[in-house]
C-alpha cells in the first residue's frame, strides 16, 4: 500500500518543530506500524536525511516505550494495543497518517516523536512502593490475599506506564496511571500500612508536575493498551478522601 506520512519533526527540546510530509510506497499490510517507520528511516538514511526518532524497545507491547499519537489517537486506530503491535492492515491504501508526539506539559519533546516521561518515574518515587528491605520478608503464604482482590490488583498492576492515558486526556491528566499504582497496593494487605501516605504523596507530586485534572471523559480508559479501568480512579479518590478526612 502507498501512504502519505505527516510527521512532527523537532531537532531538540529547545528548537521549534514542524510537520514534514513523506510519501511512502509499497508497504505490506502485514508490516507493524514501527516497521513501517523503520522502512521510512531506511529511505531517509539513503537520502542523507536525519531519520525520524521515536521511542521503542520490546516491540511486543509490554515495555511501554512506544508513544505515538497517530491520526488523533494514542497508539493509533486499533484498540487495546500499543503502537508497536498496530499493523498496517488497519489503514487503507492511499491514507494520510499524521504522527505526533505525546503532548503534555510534563512530557516535553526530546526530539521528533520522542518525549521525556520521567515525570512518571518521579510520581512512583514518591510512594509507588511498599517500603520493605531485601531480606526481611516473612514467609510468603503468611500473607493471604483473596482471589478477587488479587485479580483486581493484577488488573491495575498491568499498567505499562506508556502515558497513552495522559496523551488521550483532553486535560493531560495522569489520574489513570497514578490510580493504577495506588489501586494495586490498596487492594493488597501488604499495601495498607502506607496507604494514606502513599496516596497523598503521589497525588501531590502528580499535581506539582503539571498534569491536568480529571474531568471524567474516560478517554484514558478508552485508549489504555492494557485496558486499565477507570474504577481505579474512583478507588484512588476514595483512598484520597479517607487519607485526608480520617
Amino acid at each position: 500500500m502507498d501512504l502519505t506520512l505527516k510527521i512532527w519533526r523537532q531537532k531538540d527540546s529547545k528548537s521549534s518543530g514542524k510537520f514534514v510530509i513523506y510519501p511512502l510506497k509499497n508497504i505490506s499490510p502485514n508490516c507493524s506500524f514501527l516497521e513501517m517507520l523503520d522502512i521510512l528511516n531506511e529511505e531517509l538514511i539513503g537520502r542523507n536525511e536525519d531519520p525520524v526518532v521515536f521511542d521503542h524497545d520490546c516491540r511486543e507491547g509490554i515495555c511501554g516505550m512506544c508513544s505515538l499519537y497517530i491520526n488523533g489517537r494514542p497508539h493509533g486506530p486499533d484498540d487495546a494495543v500499543t503502537a508497536c503491535q498496530l499493523h498496517m492492515r488497519k489503514f487503507k491504501d492511499g491514507d494520510t497518517i499524521v504522527i505526533e508526539p505525546w503532548r503534555a506539559r510534563p512530557f516535553p519533546v526530546i526530539k521528533d516523536l520522542m518525549v521525556d516521561r520521567s515525570a512518571f518515574d518521579k510520581i512512583i518515587q514518591e510512594g509507588g512502593y511498599i517500603s520493605v528491605n531485601t531480606g526481611g520478608a516473612a514467609e510468603a503464604n503468611n500473607i493471604l490475599v483473596g482471589k478477587e482482590n488479587s485479580e483486581l490488583s493484577m488488573d491495575a498492576a498491568a499498567c505499562i506506564g506508556c502515558g497513552a492515558c495522559v496523551a488521550a486526556c483532553k486535560n493531560a491528566s495522569a489520574m489513570l496511571f497514578v490510580s493504577a499504582k495506588i489501586s494495586q497496593f490498596a487492594l493488597l494487605p501488604q499495601g495498607q500500612i502506607e496507604a494514606k501516605q502513599r496516596v497523598k504523596k503521589m497525588v501531590k507530586k502528580m499535581d506539582e508536575l503539571g498534569f491536568g485534572n480529571c474531568t471524567n471523559t474516560y478517554a484514558c480508559e478508552a485508549e489504555c493498551p492494557k485496558l486499565i479501568s477507570r474504577s481505579n480512579i474512583a478507588r484512588m479518590n476514595r483512598e484520597f478522601m479517607c487519607a485526608k478526612v480520617i
Partner: protein
C-alpha cells in the same frame, strides 16, 4: 483549610466540584417544584404563595446563602480546573482527539458556560428583583414583586421561550454526564451499581429539564 483554591490538590477540588454539583441537582428539583405551580390555572395563587414562602422564610434564607455559595464555588472551581487543564497541554495536537468518549463529556465547561449565561439573565429577571437590586413595576398586593406576572410576560416572548428550551436541553446534557461523573469522583464505582447510577443520571437529566421545558410550551401553545 488553605486560603487559596489553587493550593488544594486536584482531587480535593474535584471532590468539592462533585459534592456541589449533586447539591445543586437537589436544589434544581425544589426549583422545578415551584415552577410547576405555574401550570396550575389559578391565576398564580400557588406560585405566588411558594414565591412568598421562599422569599420570607428564614430557614430558606439561610439556605439561599449556602446555595449561592454553592453556585459560585462550583463555577469558580470549574473555571480554575479548566484553566489548569489548558495549561497542562501548552502545545496542542494538530489532529484533534478521536478517542471515543461519552457524548459531550469533553465539553462540560462549555455546557456549564451556557448554563452560567442563562443563570445571569435569570438572576436579572428574578433574583435581583427579589433582592431589590433591580426594580420592576409588577408588584403584588403585599408589595412583593409579582413573579407570576413577570414569568408570564417572559414566556409570552417566543424568543425567550425558545432560548429557555434550548438552555434546558444543554443543561440536560450537562447533568447526564455530571451525575455519574460526580459519583465516580466521589469514589462510587462498582460494577453492581454503575448501571443504576448511569440510568438514574440519564433519567434525571431527561425528566427535570423536561419539567422545566413544559412550562414555556404551556405558556406559548396552550395558554
Amino acid at each position: 483549610m488553605n486560603s487559596s483554591f489553587l493550593q488544594f490538590s486536584s482531587i480535593t477540588k474535584k471532590i468539592w466540584m462533585a459534592f456541589l454539583g449533586l447539591f445543586l441537582m437537589i436544589f434544581l428539583v425544589v426549583h422545578l417544584g415551584i415552577n410547576l405551580c405555574l401550570l396550575r390555572d389559578d391565576g398564580g395563587a400557588w406560585f405566588t404563595a411558594a414565591a412568598h414562602f421562599m422569599g420570607t422564610n428564614y430557614i430558606v434564607k439561610v439556605f439561599e446563602i449556602v446555595l449561592f455559595a454553592g453556585f459560585i464555588l462550583h463555577i469558580l472551581l470549574g473555571i480554575i480546573l479548566q484553566v489548569q487543564n489548558w495549561m497542562a497541554r501548552p502545545v496542542r495536537y494538530m489532529v484533534s482527539n478521536k478517542t471515543y468518549t461519552p457524548f459531550l463529556s469533553k465539553y462540560m465547561i462549555y455546557t456549564g458556560g451556557i448554563v452560567l449565561i442563562f443563570l445571569i439573565t435569570h438572576f436579572m429577571n428574578f433574583y435581583f428583583i427579589k433582592l431589590g437590586w433591580i426594580s420592576n413595576p409588577n408588584i403584588t398586593p403585599e408589595g412583593e414583586p409579582d413573579f407570576y406576572i413577570i414569568a408570564q410576560q417572559l414566556f409570552a416572548m417566543p424568543l425567550y421561550s425558545i432560548l429557555y428550551i434550548v438552555l434546558f436541553i444543554v443543561l440536560g446534557f450537562h447533568l447526564n454526564q455530571a451525575f455519574q461523573a460526580a459519583w465516580q469522583t466521589l469514589g462510587v464505582n462498582h460494577p453492581q451499581y454503575n448501571t443504576c447510577i448511569q440510568r438514574f443520571g440519564t433519567f434525571y437529566a431527561i425528566v427535570v429539564p423536561l419539567g422545566f421545558i413544559i412550562i414555556p410550551i404551556y405558556f406559548l401553545l396552550i395558554r
